[in-house]
Amino acid sequence: MSKLLEVKDLAIYFDTYQAEVQAVRGVSFELDEKETLAIVGESGSGKSVTAQSLMRLTPMPPGKFAGGSILFNGEDLTKKSESQMESIRGKDISMIFQDPMTSLNPTMTIGKQIAEGLIKHQNMSKKEAHNRGVELLKLVGIPNPEKRINQYPHEYSGGMRQRAMIAIALACNPKVLIADEPTTALDVTIQAQILDLMRDLQQKTGTAIILITHDLGVVANAASRVAVMYGGKIVETGNVDEIFYNPKHPYTWGLLSSMPKINNGEEELQAIPGSPPDLADPPKGCPFVARCPYAMKLCENHMPEYTNLSDTQKTACWLLDERAPEVEPPESAIVGGAKVHG
């Protein structure tokens, strides 16, 4: 299978006044053409930094690549010059951001904001770009696009702005679309609409999507594979069924327990007690050790290797070592019978 994107041992640190923040500490994943990979984890686990570094949008300095590579079609993006990156951004890889209220330029019409990429990457004239803009707005489901295209962001609702952002991102038919919490800032009903739209468009255009979210509930219907990220590392990865029905990492169990389930409404949602580790002083061993109910002495000082559970599932946890005690996932983490995969 052709790998579109291969991230290997990526590490990104920030130099701040107090300390060096190790936001991403050796992350590896792959993205195939036309697939959707979800990256899930609590806030502060390094998802956005990872995502933005794929487009080299992380501010450097204070940020810096501390190791690893990002291979896009076999070429290492960490080695590209700024101007080479400019011809990749928006054309091969695009991004939509969390907050549609602030991610559009308030003093520029939506039409102009869509047109910019088209003019830059596809050598369109202003007129052509405008017409294509109308088509794109229609494609993302904005009513009355001929009129709407000349409006400013403040004349759009939140959901419509996110649709416009998607139109901007998809304007040049990118190979990869990175969506960093695209629905987090939206109402629940709008969230579902935006996710549906992204799935529809993916079927039409064949764009591969990296969907970043802190909400496993979003993942079930939207992605085919999931990477669970915590403390700057990927602790478990697998396809959607594996992550939901056969999770092996206690952090994944925690995420599943804190997700509302459809069939057992009486059960309480269980948030994971404690808070994510301080990445300015990251734990030597497993990042989850401080909050893990099954933590052993070993976990504190030694980061577990990945255990391959299947061709697709990999988990980094000492519990999977043959010498470790047998541990069953808690009741609350079992997605038994719940129809999550739609």
Binding site: Q52, M55, L57, E82, S83, M85, E86, S87, I88, R89, G90, K91, S94, M95, F97, D99, T102, S103, L104, N105, P106, T107, M108, Q113, E116, G117, K120, H121, Y152, H154, M165, I168, A169
Partner: protein
């Protein structure tokens, strides 16, 4: 739009009414009289003068006479300079002030914005520190000291520019720069901080994610948004240039309106004081209206509607 303008014009007229009224009664309350100078007039002569200028009338009559003619832009004759109308004095001196003021505003805006942008783009680098040192100096050195320093360096030492008076463009440079310094420094700081805010905003990241170059992102996306606070500062800028002109025109011996105003105050030349005050007020009120209209043009979120200026 037309309705909005009409409404704003009514506001201007109402404000003017209050300004005229207040200045009139303040003048009345101020001690001294225009005829009280070193050489006292004989009582008979003073009575005659008061008669001639209508200063004998009861105060409310004087007030209504004044109000009536002020709205026709007739401020009567100067009390100190026989045979000169206040309107004439204003018409003669204002062009100097206008040229000087416009020049100073252009200098303050262009260089201030430029310094601010450089400082923000070169954040925490040499360019930033240089620009901010200039800005802090500019804000802390009063304009009259700046004027003297400029005269000393450029007119006396270097002999490059004329030291005073107003005869050619070269004469305008030093006073315009002196007048511009403080607002320039203020604009530079304002522009720097607003540019820094904007450069860190999400939509700049969006713009970059489209593959736009650093230059296009800075000038096409950031600048237009970052300049909004500077546009709102244009009103206070006009005020600052105007009050600054009182001193600067004096130092550089420029026969402008600011100078006339200062002279009229020392002379207690009632009619000239009130005439210039009203004229300055009109100038300010109209500039503020223009700034508001301009803001509506620059920021699409502010719509100049029939309901009035609204956010």
């Amino acid at each position: 739009m037309a309705k909005y303008l009409l409404k704003r014009l009514v506001y201007i007229i109402v404000s003017l009414f209050f300004i005229i009224t207040i200045t009139f009664f303040l003048m009345q309350a101020a001690p001294g009289s225009p005829f009280a100078s070193e050489r006292a007039l004989t009582p008979a002569l003073e009575a005659q003068m008061n008669e001639a200028y209508g200063l004998n009338e009861p105060i409310h009559v004087q007030y209504f006479n004044y109000l009536f003619s002020a709205f026709q832009f007739d401020f009567g004759p100067s009390i100190k300079y026989v045979g000169q109308d206040v309107t004439e004095i204003i018409a003669r001196s204002f062009p100097y002030s206008l040229i000087l003021g416009v020049e100073a505003i252009l200098i303050a805006l262009s260089i201030g914005v430029l310094l601010g942008v450089i400082a923000a783009v070169k954040h925490n680098k040499f360019g930033d520190y240089t620009a901010m040192v200039i800005a802090v100096l500019g804000i802390s050195v009063p304009s009259f000291i700046m004027a003297t320093i400029l005269q000393y360096i450029f007119a006396i030492k270097l002999q490059a520019l004329p030291i005073a008076r107003f005869e050619s463009f070269a004469h305008t440079i030093l006073p315009a720069v002196a007048l511009a310094t403080t607002p320039l420094a203020f604009i530079a700081r304002l522009m720097r901080s607003s540019m820094l805010d904007v450069l860190h905003s999400d939509y700049i990241k969006t713009a970059k994610s489209k593959g736009l170059s650093e230059r296009v992102v800075t000038y096409k996306h950031a600048l237009r948004n970052a300049i909004l606070p500077v546009v709102s500062y244009l009103g206070p800028l006009v005020v600052s240039i105007l009050t600054g002109s009182f001193i600067i025109e004096k130092i550089f011996g420029i026969p402008g309106l600011g100078n006339e105003f200062v002279v009229s105050v020392t002379n207690r030349d009632y009619t000239v004081i009130m005439g210039t005050t009203v004229f300055f007020s009109v100038l300010l009120l109209v500039s503020i209206l223009l700034v508001d209209l301009l803001y509506g043009l620059v920021d699409p979120r502010i719509k100049v509607t029939d309901k009035g200026a609204s956010k």
